[in-house]
């Protein structure tokens, strides 16, 4: 039943691959450092719009090379999103597994905490904590990790409950397996696809969350930079130096679009429930 991958997916995967590649080694291609400034070349337009040749995508308000900024911002955004997604997914999934295994009071309490988190828009929590506790990279990453964990917990609990009711899980129990074996060797691999689909949703959401926080001044802090921070810092210059915010905006869009195309395809391909039905 192997179908050929649609062109859109191949393009999306390629684009993502290129983006990740650029994020990893992109700075090799730029002669300038991220923070390297040229006060004589502030707000220069991209080369293709008549700007100086040495700045292909122009410069920002203090004369830093946009290419260097974008590469560094891209790397930071991807890293933060990756770390956040990973932490949230692992934490949430674990909680979901625990709730599904123990049921009863444990499940009730855990699900109440999930409800609590879900009852507050995350940006509200992030905004408050970052403002009140001060912005540090550690707190920021932890916060991004807290983002979406409740989705994973709910999802994991749901899929685990349904997976555990599957005959193959019962068969494994009947063989005399310990719960830990059942969960790690059988259920986790089978629910992983549902979780991976969720990953493709969370990942761009974290990039966007960071962008919103940057707008409120609570995102990644200088001298580090992120796509959201570049985008936010260029907003006063939209009518005169649009390239500062439009380029990172385009990157965010491309990442989100590619991720969602991949996620949709993964959902169709990997969802164990769908798969069972199709065979």
């Amino acid at each position: 039943m192997k179908k050929r991958l649609p062109v859109s997916v191949i393009i999306a995967a390629t684009v993502l691959g290129v983006i990740i590649f650029i994020a990893i080694i992109g700075n090799v291609f730029t002669p300038y450092g991220v923070t390297e400034q040229n006060l004589l070349a502030r707000l220069k337009p991209p080369a293709f719009l008549g700007g100086p040749e040495e700045y292909p995508l122009g410069t920002d308000r203090i004369g830093r090379d946009m290419v260097a900024r974008l590469v560094a911002g891209l790397r930071m955004s991807l890293l933060v999103a990756l770390a956040g997604t990973a932490i949230g997914a692992i934490f949430g999934t674990t909680i979901g597994f625990i709730a599904a295994h123990f049921r009863g009071a444990v499940e009730e309490i855990l699900m109440m905490i999930v409800d609590f988190q879900a009852s507050l828009p995350f940006i509200l929590i992030a905004l408050t904590l970052l403002a009140f506790f001060g912005n540090s990279m550690t707190l920021f990453i932890i916060l991004m990790g807290l983002f979406g964990w409740e989705t994973y917990a709910r999802l994991a609990r749901g899929v685990v409950l349904s997976a555990a009711a599957q005959p193959y899980a019962k068969a494994v129990v009947a063989l005399g397996a310990r719960p830990i074996r059942l969960y790690t060797k059988h259920i986790l691999p089978n629910v992983a696809s549902a979780l991976i689909v969720q990953l493709t949703l969370t990942f761009p959401q974290i990039i966007l969350l960071e962008t919103s926080l940057s707008f409120l001044g609570l995102g990644i802090q200088s001298p580090n930079t992120s796509l959201g921070q570049i985008l936010g810092s260029g907003r006063d210059y939209l009518s005169t130096a649009w390239w500062i915010s439009v380029f990172p905006g385009m990157l965010i869009f491309i990442i989100t679009l590619s991720m969602s195309i991949l996620g949709d395809t993964l959902r169709d391909r990997l969802d164990p429930m769908l798969k069972q039905r199709n065979t």
């Binding site: 193959y168 494994v172 129990v173 009947a174 063989l175 005399g176 164990p272």
Partner: protein
């Protein structure tokens, strides 16, 4: 009568590129007359359902357009524009489906759904429609038509849903009714009633019925003519009597031979010591009813079971009778509320934690659906070896056992490296059996283990189980809703109803001289029971 009611000529339905064969239906020609029941039989993948869909114009949109002709009332349906075709659908041609509950739209009341056909094809007023629908419900013998009109699908049983569907199909007195496995999901007694309804329809309304099924019992019960399909092609077509009793094609012969006979025999001699003793097993499910009313279901109600080495005990009953719950209690996948279980002389019911896990090697289970019973991400060898590994065997030794077992269940030892999705349903069930036997259990529970399989495969699996039992001498608790199957393999049969065992005995006695009305009812409902010329006493 010169023109048949429906003539399918050279119908071919293609499959999308990359499928295992180019055509789902290939060059199919057959006719259906007025007042005739034509049964189309075939195993999974024979193309019988797609032929029906092509006739109704219901083919999935990802399939190419069918070729050939489907002539009805002088017009080729395949060439009609969609709007014309839609006018015929539901009015002149009607169809009923396999899963009656899923075929009704869950958010609308039954009355609205049945009435929709009238709204679409007639100009009747609401009151008139209501009148008509009520009359239809009476005709299909639905109890309390008024109440059912207001009910939602989830409030009806499967049999009731199918009657509603039939009522919908009959609404505008169609010339043709296409029935796609309409009784497969139903209990045997319900099935008998629906089949009765089909026969009445043919009598009273002269409807031409295209009846699709895989069950030769059903065919024997109702068919005027039979068409046998295989791999999208017509193998044989002819009057029922001829096809069933004097089949021309080898394939038909094979299929018929595989149908288990209702052939009650006495229990075997030389059975060993008791391997399972269950006393007073009880399981109650508590649900939350409307407005806090508690719903209590006695799923298993004070049941005693004993089973000896080498013996097979059949547990038969309709859905909801508690037979699966009982089996799951015995194997401790569900904890019974009450009762004692002893397996192979050792306590099993009261064990906990590690002791329970250790004791699990004594009892294993084979489930109904071989597609979900194997972890799709685990290789077959690993799956079979897993039990021994859990119980302390070395991985390499366990793999050797697994390969040997694969050979024993009739598969290549090299299958160990492959994954479940590479196997057919029957092969998977063999793998499940191998997995269960890898632990050399004293008790094997087969929970509807052959119900989902095609009849030819079913026969093979039953033979395999019998063979394995002979070799390993395990006791087997065989759960099934199919009396034919039970009669073929069981030494003793216990009939369950509403959580209780109502009657128990050797098949020879039970089938010939049932004591309980319920047992009689069940036996009477077995479709086509006379066809195989079973010698049995008439019991009035």
């Amino acid at each position: 009568m010169t023109e048949p009611l429906l003539a399918i000529r050279n119908l071919s339905v293609g499959l999308p590129a990359g499928s295992d064969r180019p055509f789902a239906v290939e060059d199919l020609s057959l006719t259906l007359e007025k007042g005739e029941i034509l049964c189309v039989v075939g195993e999974t993948g024979s193309g019988k359902s797609l032929s029906a869909f092509a006739t109704m114009g219901l083919l999935p949109t990802n399939l190419p357009k069918p070729t050939g002709e489907v002539v009805f009332e002088g017009r080729n349906l395949l060439a009609l524009p969609p709007s014309e075709r839609r006018k015929l659908a539901g009015s002149r041609l009607a169809m009923i489906f396999q899963e009656p509950a899923a075929v009704l739209n869950p958010v609308y009341r039954i009355g609205e759904q049945v009435g929709e056909t009238f709204q679409l094809h007639t100009g009747l007023s609401k009151a008139e429609i209501r009148e008509k629908v009520t009359a239809l419900f009476r005709e299909v013998r639905l109890p309390n038509p008024e109440e059912i009109l207001r009910a939602y699908p989830h409030q009806l049983s499967g049999g009731q849903c199918q009657r509603v569907m039939i009522a919908t199909a009959l609404a505008l007195e169609p010339a043709i009714l296409i029935a796609d496995e309409p009784t497969t999901a139903l209990d045997v007694t319900t099935q008998a009633q629906i089949l009765r309804l089909m026969l009445d329809l043919r009598e009273n309304r002269d409807t031409g019925i295209l009846f699709i099924t895989h069950d030769f019992g059903v065919v024997a019960e109702i068919a005027d003519r039979v068409a046998v399909m295989r791999h999208g092609r017509l193998v044989e077509i002819g009057p029922a009597e001829q096809v069933l009793n004097h089949p021309q094609a080898d394939y038909t012969r094979e299929l018929l031979a595989a149908v288990p006979k209702l052939d009650p025999h006495a229990s075997r001699e030389g059975l060993g010591e008791p391997v399972l003793e269950a006393r007073g097993i009880r399981k109650i499910f508590r649900g939350q009813g409307f407005l806090g009313k508690k719903r209590v279901v006695n799923a298993v109600d004070q049941v005693d079971v004993t089973l000896r080495r080498g013996e097979t005990l059949g547990l038969v009953g309709e859905s909801g009778s508690g037979k699966s719950t009982l089996a799951q209690c015995v194997i401790r996948l569900i904890d019974p509320d009450d009762g004692a279980i002893t397996i192979a002389g050792g306590n099993f019911g009261g064990l906990k934690g590690n002791a329970l896990r250790e004791a699990r090697r004594r009892v294993q289970i084979v489930f109904q659906d071989p597609y979900t019973a194997l972890d799709p991400r685990q290789s077959v060898g690993d799956a079979i070896a897993e039990g021994p590994v859990i119980h302390g065997k070395k991985k390499s030794e366990a793999m050797t056992t697994a390969r040997n077992l694969l050979a024993a269940v009739g598969l290549e030892p090299s299958a160990a490296d492959r994954f479940p999705h590479e196997f057919s349903g029957g092969q998977r069930q063999r793998i499940c059996i191998a997995r269960a036997l890898a632990l050399e259990p004293q008790l094997l529970i087969a929970d509807e283990s052959v119900s989902a399989l095609d009849v030819s495969v079913q026969a093979q699996i039953l033979d395999l189980l019998a063979d394995m039992q002979k070799r390993h001498q395990f006791g087997m608790l065989f759960i099934t809703h199919d009396l034919r199957v039970a009669s073929r393999i069981c030494d003793r049969i216990a009939v369950m109803r509403q959580g209780k065992i109502v009657e128990e005995g050797e098949p020879a006695r039970l089938f010939v001289d049932p004591q309980q009305d319920y047992t009689k009812e069940l036996l009477a409902a077995v479709p086509g029971r006379d066809w195989q010329h079973v010698a049995r006493a008439e019991n009035g």
